[in-house]
Symmetry: C2
Subunit: 199 residues, 2 copies
C-alpha cells in the first residue's frame, strides 16, 4: 500500500497542523522532510508541486494539495472524518471562519513572532507582537464561552489554530494573560492520539 506523502519540515507549525490531525484520527502518512535551509523548496521540482515554495505539500497519487488548511479539509473529506469537519452548512461555515483566523490573524501574530525569534526571519517583530496581543485577547474571550473553536467538539479548526497558539512562547509571546486559551490548549493536548510538535 502506498501511503500519501507529506512534504514536511519538523519545526514548521503549518506542517504540524497536518501531522497532529493525522495522529488524532489515525491516518498514516509518509513524511518527507524538505531541507528549507538548503533552499530545497525553491527547486523547479518542488515549485511544480507548490508555486508558493512552502511546506507543507500533500501528495496522494496524482492529487497535490498545498496550504495546511486545505490539506486538513482534504484529509477529513477523504477519510470521512465528518465529526472533525461537519457536513451541515453552519458547521462548515464555522470551521471555515476559524481556518481563516489560522491563516491570517494567527499567522501574522504569534507565528510570525516565532519565525523572527526562533529562525531569524526578516519580519517586523513589533508588528507581530502587537497583532498577537489583539488576536490572543479575542480568542481568549471567545474561549471563555466556548469549549472548542467551531462546534461543540474538536474539529480541524482546532488543529489549524492550535500549533502557533500553543507555540507562541517560542516567539516570546506570553500566554499567561489568557486563561481560557490555556485551558483550551490543555484540552487539545488531552485528546487521544495527541502528539507534540517535535514528535
Amino acid at each position: 500500500m502506498t501511503l500519501p506523502i507529506l512534504y514536511n519540515c519538523p519545526p514548521s507549525g503549518n506542517c504540524y497542523k497536518v501531522r497532529l490531525f493525522a495522529a488524532l484520527v489515525g491516518i498514516e502518512l509518509e513524511i518527507r522532510n524538505v531541507d528549507l535551509a538548503a533552499g530545497a523548496q525553491k527547486t523547479a521540482e518542488f515549485t511544480a508541486l507548490n508555486p508558493w515554495q512552502q511546506v507543507p505539500v500533500f501528495q496522494d497519487g496524482e492529487t497535490v494539495i498545498w496550504d495546511s488548511q486545505a490539506i486538513l479539509v482534504y484529509l477529513a473529506e477523504t477519510y470521512g472524518k465528518h465529526d472533525w469537519l461537519p457536513s451541515d452548512p453552519v458547521g462548515r461555515a464555522k470551521v471555515a471562519q476559524w481556518l481563516s483566523v489560522a491563516v491570517n490573524e494567527i499567522q501574522h501574530g504569534p507565528a510570525d513572532a516565532r519565525l523572527v525569534k526562533l529562525f531569524g526571519y526578516p519580519l517586523r517583530y513589533d508588528d507581530a507582537a502587537k497583532a498577537s496581543e489583539r488576536t490572543l485577547k479575542i480568542i481568549d474571550d471567545y474561549l471563555s464561552g466556548h469549549k472548542w473553536l467551531a462546534t461543540e467538539r474538536p474539529t480541524i479548526a482546532d488543529c489549524a489554530a492550535y500549533p502557533y497558539l500553543a507555540l507562541a512562547p517560542q516567539g516570546e509571546i506570553s500566554l499567561e494573560p489568557y486563561p481560557s486559551l490555556r485551558r483550551w490548549i490543555s484540552d487539545v493536548e488531552a485528546l487521544p492520539g495527541y502528539i507534540p510538535v517535535d514528535q
Copy 2:
C-alpha cells in the same frame, strides 16, 4: 419572507466578495451598511456579532457568520450551489487552498496597498507593494495554465480572490505585467449576473 442580512460597507472588497457571489447565483440579501468611519463596528452590539469588529457579518435567523470566505461557504452550502463549491474531497480542498490565498497573500498584498492609498490606513505600503508583486506573479503564472482558480469552472474561490485582485490599481499596483490575471479578471466580469464593486 425575511431575507438574510449582510452587514456591509460599500467600498469593502471583503463585503463585495459576498455581494458578488449572491448576485452571480441569485441570492437576495438585506444590505445593512455599517458606518466604519463613525466606529459603528466597535459598538458592543456589533462586537457581539463579530469579535474582530470587522465587516462583513452575515446573519440568517439565529445564525451569525463572520469572515467573508466563511460566508461564501455558508451561502453555497445553504443554497445548494455545489457547482460553486464542489462536494468531492479534491474539489473542496482546491477551493480551500484559494480561500487561504484570498485571506492571506491577497489580503496582505493588493488589499493592504489599497487600504493605504484609498483610505489612509496606517499600514506599511512598501511591504504591501512588495508582497503584491510576488503574489500577482504567482497567480498570473498559475492562470496561464488554468481558466479558473480551483476547478474547471468558477467557484467561490474566484469570488473570494477577484475583488482585491481586480481592485489592485486602486492601491497603485499595476496589473499590466500580468496578462493571464487580466484575462481571468475579464472572464469573471463576463459571468452572467456579475456586478461591479460600486453596485
